[in-house]
Symmetry: none
Subunit: 200 residues, 4 copies
DNA sequence: AATGAATGAGGTTTCATTCAT
DNA sequence: GATGAATGAAACCTCATTCAT
């Protein structure tokens, strides 16, 4: 029974993602999602409290598992720099592999209601905290500058990566997103200016 | 007559900004904007083709002038690093001075329709190109790394700054935004890692 | 302008009464009322806050004016008994003359939501108070029994008349309602039992 | 089996009364009644044709037994006046003892569909006929006026009592309902005006 | 007999836009 | 140019009822 329930729950979420990717946030009517999922309109409301709940759930399911993968992957790593490379790698690679998801999260869901946006913010927060922790670890390791403002830095890192993904989507995905990882992390670590490590 | 026209045109744009700041994007009905401007609903359509055109115009007027200020300010400067500091300074300071505008651009207008979003993108584009030019200039000056991808870098810089402003708004503007300029530019120039200039 | 406004306001109310009388409370969709009134659905919401407001207004307009007529008519009369006869006469005659209104008020609106029912109660209240005042006057005049409970009595009188009208509607209006006035008032004044006035 | 059947039948009726009393007529969804009764939604439809049938049955069960009590109680009495006092006494006392039932019958069920209302009417009819019989008996006994219209009078009596109960419910049951019996019957028998029995 | 997941029709309300004055 | 009354399409959600198990 629960299997069946989960089955339909997933069907509806899949349908929602597909419909939003195809028709945009404003074209994502419940009736269209239901039809795509092959269920009646009312069935949607057996699994979700309302439309907003459906969209929040979609975001949580998809992004939540992504955030989880970050946590799992970091554990084994050693230096903060490597951790950052892994995070950015997962971030770009995952969204490159799932362009529908990427479109939905970067473009469509940003047009949503304040309530949904705030729910999205809560889902993304752990990811941002994860980034902050890496920065903090780098400072402790003495590989990152001690004068970094960790709270500010996490925003700079997240904002930069987020914008790269968004632009990639807007451009029509004409180039490789995962191909930007190294240059991006390089920027994070070394900045813009010509600098060389001190020769002891 | 044209003077008068312009007069009402401006009144309506002012009213739109005020209403959006007060009631959010979704609360910005044409009738409310008209009332705030002291004109009839139909009058709005004498100056703007439709609601979208009104919002695009609002964005162009406001953000366009901001972008112009960037151009004007940079001309005189010398090094790319200084230019970046000036750009980030204007970016943060202007939005700190006009919190209504900041709220509208960072939060409300992001909830808008695809068409409007794309129009916004076009308005912001020159700003992003400006950033790219600074990067390119830095490379030419030999102060920025020659291996920088200028197109990618402009996104990283813009995305980072944009996220800082958005978070500042969401936080309720509890801290100084302009106080983040130095740390932000520092991050752009030097990156995260402990590095020292080569001693020649 | 106001004339026009009032015009449409009245058109919608008339349409509502007609539709409710024809299709019942549950068949009274806004769209049907609008069509009957010859206006667009949205126009209804220019004159009424929502459907409930429309129905409350209908009740107030119709019953309110009826109640007003009671007040106007009573002023001139002398004895409480006569006043009672006038009230009952108006009550029955008016509803007999306007069978649609009678059907709507006695049958359809009683199936309405708690909120509407309570609004209806408030409209009818002055009528019930009017009846109480007549009873009180009768006591003061020494023509009504001094041991009457005025609050209870007003309910007994109103309830009795109300039930007569309702039954007349349910029966399909097969007999004269105004023909019941004398017998009804007689019952109010003399009760059921055989009694004779004291011979002084 | 029949025993069991009856068992669940009763459970569902009890649940319906409880739910209606608690949540009102419009809050009485089939699923809620089923849950309160501890059965599945579909089970309700094994015992009742549809929701309307359930509600009609509820009314018949509850009000029908009340009406039966009237019949049983009257048989032994002698004068019509006494019979009237007994009827009114049972009417008020029973509903005072069962406020949930009173609320359901006076308020909630009146908001119901035309079909249900008509079914309710049929259930109440024998009660009204009972009243008529008392009136007729009074006339035969020569204690009630011979010129009474029995059909009209039964409405006046029932309507008056019904309104008293309804007002008592609406007032929040702040006073004793059974305390109104004597004054009510007094009104029925003697009317409003000061009259004295003929002294022979 | 009992279950309960699934169905799907149906109605109120908003608001950008128009056009007669 | 200016008005603002009128338009009408469009979508979420509820809940009585069914039927496969």
């Amino acid at each position: 029974m629960t299997g069946r329930k989960r089955e339909k729950y997933g069907l509806i979420l899949d349908a929602a993602e597909k419909v939003i990717a195809r028709s945009g946030y404003h074209g994502a009517q419940v009736s269209r999602i239901a039809k795509e999922a092959g269920v009646a309109d009312g069935t949607v409301y057996l699994y979700f409290k309302n439309k907003e709940d459906l969209l929040v759930s979609l975001f949580r399911e998809r992004l939540g598992s992504l955030v989880q993968r970050f946590h799992d992957s970091i554990r084994e790593t050693h230096t903060a720099g490597e951790a950052l490379r892994i995070v950015c790698g997962i971030h770009f690679t995952m969204l490159e592999k799932h362009p529908d998801l990427a479109h939905v999260t970067q473009i469509e869901l940003r047009q949503s209601s304040p309530k949904l946006r705030s729910a999205i913010g809560l889902t993304v927060k752990p990811y941002i905290v994860l980034i902050e922790n890496i920065v903090r670890k780098g400072i402790e390791e003495n590989t990152f500058r001690a004068d970094l403002d960790t709270k500010l830095t996490r925003l700079l890192l997240f904002g930069a990566m987020d914008q790269v993904v968004t632009s990639w989507i807007i451009s029509g995905r004409k180039y490789s997103l995962s191909g930007q990882v190294d240059k991006t992390v390089d920027f994070f670590l070394r900045g813009l200016t010509v600098q060389e490590r001190k020769i002891r």
